[in-house]
């Protein structure tokens, strides 16, 4: 599995795919990461290809969506009128504008969301690293400090999550989660 096909560093799936194509020499184009094998794009590159497919999906869905809007715009009947074009307010003439002030409680929800979501975002890169360290015993080397094992990683996250839990308990005590 290891050290097989060039251009597939430690990537079993990519190697399977390449050896399936005859295992020719895979040259890697600089920077973009497209691999070429005798003139044509080789399948399943570890980095670039998935994103090309995602771009294709987004483009196709964009075309479908725009086409639907355009088609509806071309087909629909259109008879404008002052009453017809006014804002719906249960049949009464609309009073004022809708863009007034809104309750501050919604703003607080947004603030809280930022706090907690940042924590979840911090978790994502930590999780695979920790899993690798815990199951395969691989220590993580850092550029600035000494290398760290699973125990250190767990302790680091415990400290980080601990701060958050304290903040969470404080908010709870202060009644921040009370809507009414």
């Amino acid at each position: 599995m290891s050290g097989g096909v060039a251009g597939c560093p430690r990537h079993p799936r990519c190697e399977t795919l390449h050896s399936g194509l005859g295992g020719g020499t895979v040259k890697r184009a600089p920077r973009l990461g497209i691999a070429w094998e005798t003139g044509r794009i080789v399948t399943a590159q570890p980095f670039f290809t998935p994103y090309a497919s995602i771009v294709f999906v987004i483009a196709l869905v964009g075309v479908v969506t725009t086409a639907m809007m355009l088609l509806a715009h071309l087909v629909k009947p259109a008879k404008k009128g002052a009453v017809k074009d006014s804002t719906y307010e249960s049949g009464m003439p609309p009073i004022g504008d809708a863009r007034g002030r809104f309750n501050v409680r919604f703003y607080i929800v947004a603030m809280r969301f930022l706090l907690f979501d940042v924590e979840v975002v911090f978790l994502w890169p930590w999780v695979p690293v920790f899993h690798k360290a815990a199951t395969q015993g691989e220590a993580v080397t850092s550029a600035v400090g000494p290398s760290a094992g699973a125990g250190f990683l767990l302790a680091a996250m415990a400290v980080f999550a601990g701060f958050l839990v304290v903040g969470f308990a404080y908010e709870w005590r202060r009644g921040m989660f009370q809507w009414d």
Binding site: S53, I54, F102, F106, A110, L123, F168
Partner: protein, 399 residues
Amino acid sequence: MVELLKDQFWFSALMTVGIVVALLTAQAYSIYFERKISAWIQDRIGPNRVGPLGLLQPLADGGKFLLKEDIIPANVDKPLFLLAPMIAFGVAMIGFAVLPWGGNVDLDADGAVDVAAQVADPGIGLLYILGIGSLSVYGVVLGGWANNNKYAFFAAMRSTAQMLSYEIPMGMAIVVVVITAGTLRLEDIVLSQIGDGHVWNIVLHPFAFFILLVTLFAETNRTPFDLAEAEQELVGGYHTEYGALKFGMFFLGEYAHMITGSGFIVVLFLGGWHLPGVPGLQPGDVSVGAMLLKITVMAGKIAAFMFLFMWVRWTLPRFRFDQLMRLSWQGLLPISMALAGYATVLVYLGKSTSIPWALGGNIVLLALTLVISQLRQTPVTGRQTNMPAISLTSPAKAR
């Protein structure tokens, strides 16, 4: 042709076209089945006029959406008004791109794997799906804002607060799976649930599965969390001013979101395309026939979740807004944080795939939750304090 399809990009392109067509059809028929199932639950007949069993109803609906007059009210924010349905629909349609449908495939039967039956397989597939999922809030917010309508504005505020609140327990419940599997790649998450000593994550962490399911209901604005379009109080919610196909796109987008969300939960907790012990559905089966079988199984699991969505919609009443907020911040969030912490400790102890440890912890936490929720008195909200007490048992005695 086969030579071209052996290139992952072209195979993905073919799959993309196929899935987009299938999704559009599935959305239209989801509406049909929603109506049929609601009729079944309420002991009615449901749509039965257009075609046999009413099966052509989606076509008739589509034609009607297209031919209706499409009013753009005078005081709306026109660019955003046009953009919002496109975002709501488009964003819901691109989430499927990273779902693993059928594992690896050997197209020319020469014993070597050629492509993966998956549109895109980035190493961060899970982050992609989460990111796209959280973009869907923009469709609602922009729609509600652009309408310049008070009902729509209130609905947009409510809906934003709701989606934001439920995103955090959702993230935490997903962390439970990711820490067990050790990867963010969706195909690898499926593979981590297969093989000797490995079971579907729902067996290991049923409580986390339930939390993810609840948050998924909230994220897709389905009953009992459909406060964004609570028709009794907000007319149509954030799409009050929309008509014709623009409304149709919000409507279809909701179903696309449900389908992608169901696929997501199937991959994370129910083994994706895998059924234990069934030949043809194992990672080693790479023939084209096995791929089609795997896709069918995956679609079947998604359909089961769609049925659950509809069943719940026509069974449960809607939450009140303060109950909704309390459930998220004081219920699901601490529970999911505890679950994620427990799963992390299990990985550290090397017990992450041990059924007694994982399942036992889940059961203990569930019991703890039930006990605490019984001990904690439900807080009386400000409005309720001003109300006279009502005795439900004996009105005569209450006076």
